[in-house]
């Protein structure tokens, strides 16, 4: 179980002092699911810093955190994805052994094959979540990802942190 107490002292103090409330959703948006899951187009979004081996790495030296994202093709070999997250607050062993631990694309392929979801979208999205200055995410990259998902007529999205 992850609580503040599991984190390194320096991370714990940082999280305790960080003004998360400033970035709380207010009002909380609500978009009802437009169709049953068995007919829905689904996409994944992760903040695990995953990228395709052919894509440019995230900028790990960016002081406020790299706000950019990478498109992950639905055709990708899940285990081929490269993890380049700059955070030290999680153990990488699990993710190294199985990318589905943070980006469960193979599980969703099974759901698609079994008819539990309508279809997987042709693309998914990956951020590197260690972003302490989120304004560029709020103003630029998150709206752009939302716009692309909307353009793809995606009905439902699962988001996963690390």
């Amino acid at each position: 179980m992850a609580t503040y107490d599991d984190l390194r002292l320096i991370d714990r103090l940082f999280l305790k002092g960080y003004p998360f409330a400033r970035y709380a959703a207010d009002p909380v948006p609500c978009a009802p699911l437009r169709r049953p899951l068995g007919e829905a187009r689904v996409a994944l979004v992760t903040t695990a810093g995953l990228r395709d081996p052919g894509q440019e790495n995230f900028d790990r030296r960016h002081k406020m955190g790299d706000p950019s994202f990478r498109e992950i093709s639905n055709e990708v070999v899940t285990q081929s994805l490269v993890e380049s997250h700059r955070s030290h607050s999680f153990n990488r062993a699990g993710l190294a052994a199985d990318r589905n631990l943070v980006f469960p694309l193979d599980r969703f392929r099974e759901l698609e094959a079994g008819g539990a979801i309508g279809a997987l979208n042709h693309r998914h999205f990956s951020f590197m979540g260690s972003i302490v200055g989120p304004r560029p995410v709020i103003q630029e990259t998150a709206p752009e990802v939302a716009r692309r998902l909307r353009e793809d007529s995606v009905d439902a999205v699962l988001l996963t942190p690390v």
């Binding site: 992850a2 609500c30 978009a31 979540g129 972003i131 939302a146 999205v157 996963t160 942190p161």
Partner: protein, 82 residues
Amino acid sequence: MCHQTVSLVQAEIERAGVATVSISLLREVTAVLRPPRALWVPFPMGYPLGSPNRPDLQRRVIAAALALLGRDDVPVLEEFTQ
């Protein structure tokens, strides 16, 4: 900080009219950030789907998360029970 990025992106996607649900490893942070729908899981940082190479457990986490998509009493923060 991953949870903040998840919540910000999630809120923006939901504002665009697409239903969302996220997984949370840090309930304290997610409770403050108030994304529309989140499933808190009792796993270590870096392990949102539970365990590597445990498709059965990963499937159960996903099923519990997807079950929240029908909820409109946002913000929803449910706990995953194994």
